[in-house]
């Protein structure tokens, strides 16, 4: 496999980490430098919570865009970015969940379960996270070997389930009719559709064959 340019991964790490660093800086400012700071709006808890959730969904969609981008462009190095973006999506989703547990539920897993049983949007969010968990745990090279490529691949299709669950979580959460969560769902479905397109290289080779 072609290696990506050396700067690509560090740049991508920096780009994806930036919003997290911005939130961390906002909280540091709020807690130690300027309690009246409005950098994270007048309600920093909700701002942070919603922001983390949105970033998790965006990172997940970005991870799911890798294969379609490869398919459309044929640029192999892009594939080597898939794991790191996926792990970032998991990280944002995990911080989103921990933040919710800490500030809304006093770290009570029993309360989390009660909320999930009572409210569909929590259930979908939690389901999405539980889909991502085994993917993060089996993201190493050795895990791929242990599972075998085919089984590993089948397991990792859960990423799409997680994406759909995340979108439904978002759709069910907002008030009134809002277009934004549906846009994310549309992008996700588009990416999914591209996977079923005929393979470029194989198709072109087929065209080149004599009849």
């Amino acid at each position: 496999m072609n290696r990506p340019p050396l700067w690509l991964k560090p740049l991508l790490h920096a780009l994806i980490a930036m919003p997290l660093l911005w939130l961390a800086w906002g909280w540091a400012e709020l807690l130690w430098l300027n309690p009246a700071s409005q950098a994270l709006s007048a309600e920093p808890v909700t701002y942070t919570h919603n922001g983390l959730g949105l970033l998790a969904l965006r990172a997940l969609i970005l991870a799911l865009a890798v294969t379609p981008v490869f398919k459309l462009s044929g640029w192999t190095p892009v594939m080597s970015l898939r794991r790191m973006i996926g792990l970032w999506a998991f990280a944002y989703a995990a911080i989103h969940l921990i933040f919710y547990l800490a500030l809304e539920l006093d770290f009570s897993l029993a309360a989390l379960w009660r909320e999930a049983m009572k409210r569909n949007f929590i259930l979908f969010g939690l389901a999405g996270f539980l889909c991502l968990l085994p993917l993060a745990l089996t993201s190493t090279r050795s895990a791929i070997k242990r599972l075998g490529g085919r089984r590993w691949q089948r397991l990792h299709r859960l990423a799409y389930v997680a994406g759909i669950a995340g979108c439904v979580h978002f759709i069910l959460r907002v008030k009134g009719f809002q277009i934004e969560p549906y846009l994310y769902l549309a992008i996700l479905l588009l990416l999914f559709a591209i996977r079923f397109m005929p393979n470029r290289r194989r198709a072109s080779r087929a065209r080149g064959l004599p009849a």
Partner: protein
């Protein structure tokens, strides 16, 4: 002999806004403003509070709690006509022109008229009332409002005995409200109160906050504040108040009847279907505090709902 006394802030009936003009009142207001503007206190169209005209008032009611900082009150808003984000109204509401402004008051009343808001503000005996404001989303503020009890206005128009409810309507003008082209809700935004709720002394027809005219994002130039109900009942930027016989349809109730009832009294015992209403986060605090029945105004208003099942009439 019938002697009709009109206060000076009433416009002649001939200038009343026909209902069909709710959606485009600009042309009408342009003509109406000529008379009003001369008398009115200078009112700047602004989202920047420091530029707004200062108002005289006397404090008549205090929540006994520290008010939420003005910066938060004027920057963390729900006003979907200007965008869905909490900071969108402060960023976008500069397009609203709160002066001149007329509110058509009519329906089942003896004396319908159009309220000239600039004149009203310059002549009314404004009260400052520090109220708690509890949003249905689970956050709250304490805000020093300036206004006049709605009941004085109700008494002035002399509702007919058939008037059982009051319907309130917000401006819905694409030119002034950039996000109204999108059907987040069924525009214009509408709210309603039962007659006794409208007459309650806590119900405030509000024209200012923190000693100044209302910033646009807070519902300039005139809005309702009903402190014992969830914030969305306190409708902003009013253009019409109608007295009606039937319980009026309200925007949030139409959008999601299971989630937003007509009454929408603050009630920690009745959850929103998607989240608990037992606690709230006061803006400026990280922890949560308990939500109080009727937002802490139970002593004043619980009697309005005696005998009613508040779980069903949520």
């Amino acid at each position: 002999m019938l002697i009709r006394t009109s206060p000076r802030w009433a416009l002649p009936e001939s200038e009343a806004t026909p209902e069909s003009l709710y959606l485009d009142r600009r042309a009408l207001l342009a003509g109406m403003g000529v008379a009003g503007a001369a008398l009115a206190a200078p009112a700047m169209a602004s989202t920047d509070v420091k530029q707004l005209a200062a108002l005289k008032s006397r404090r008549t009611h205090s929540a006994g709690e520290d008010p939420t900082p003005l910066l938060a009150v004027a920057s963390y808003n729900n006003f979907y006509e200007f965008g869905l984000g909490k900071d969108d109204p402060a960023a976008n509401a500069h397009t609203l022109k709160p002066s001149p402004w007329g509110v058509r008051i009519g329906g089942l009343v003896k004396k319908p008229f159009v309220l000239d808001v600039d004149r009203y503000i310059s002549q009314a005996a404004l009260e400052e009332r520090v109220y708690r404001m509890r949003c249905v989303e689970g956050w709250s503020m304490v805000i020093p409002w300036l206004g006049v009890p709605l009941s004085t206005l109700v008494a002035f128009v002399e509702p007919l005995s058939s008037a059982k409810y009051v319907r309130f309507t917000t401006l819905a003008d694409r030119k002034q409200m950039p996000k109204i082209g999108f059907p987040t809700l069924d525009w214009p935004y509408r709210e309603g109160l039962r007659m006794d709720e409208a007459m309650h002394p806590l119900t405030l027809l509000t024209v200012g906050l923190y000693g100044r005219r209302l910033p646009n994002q807070n519902g300039a130039p005139i809005r309702l504040v009903v402190p014992w109900k969830y914030g969305f009942k306190s409708i902003k930027s009013l253009v019409a108040i109608d007295f009606v016989e039937q319980q009026p349809l309200t925007s949030w109730n139409q959008s999601a009847p299971r989630e937003y009832g007509f009454y929408s009294n603050v009630n920690p015992a009745v959850d929103h279907p998607r989240w608990s209403q037992a606690t709230e986060r006061r803006i400026g605090e990280f922890g949560k505090r308990d939500t109080l029945p009727f937002n802490g105004y139970a002593a004043e208003v619980a009697g309005l709902y005696r005998g009613m099942d508040l779980k069903r009439n949520f």
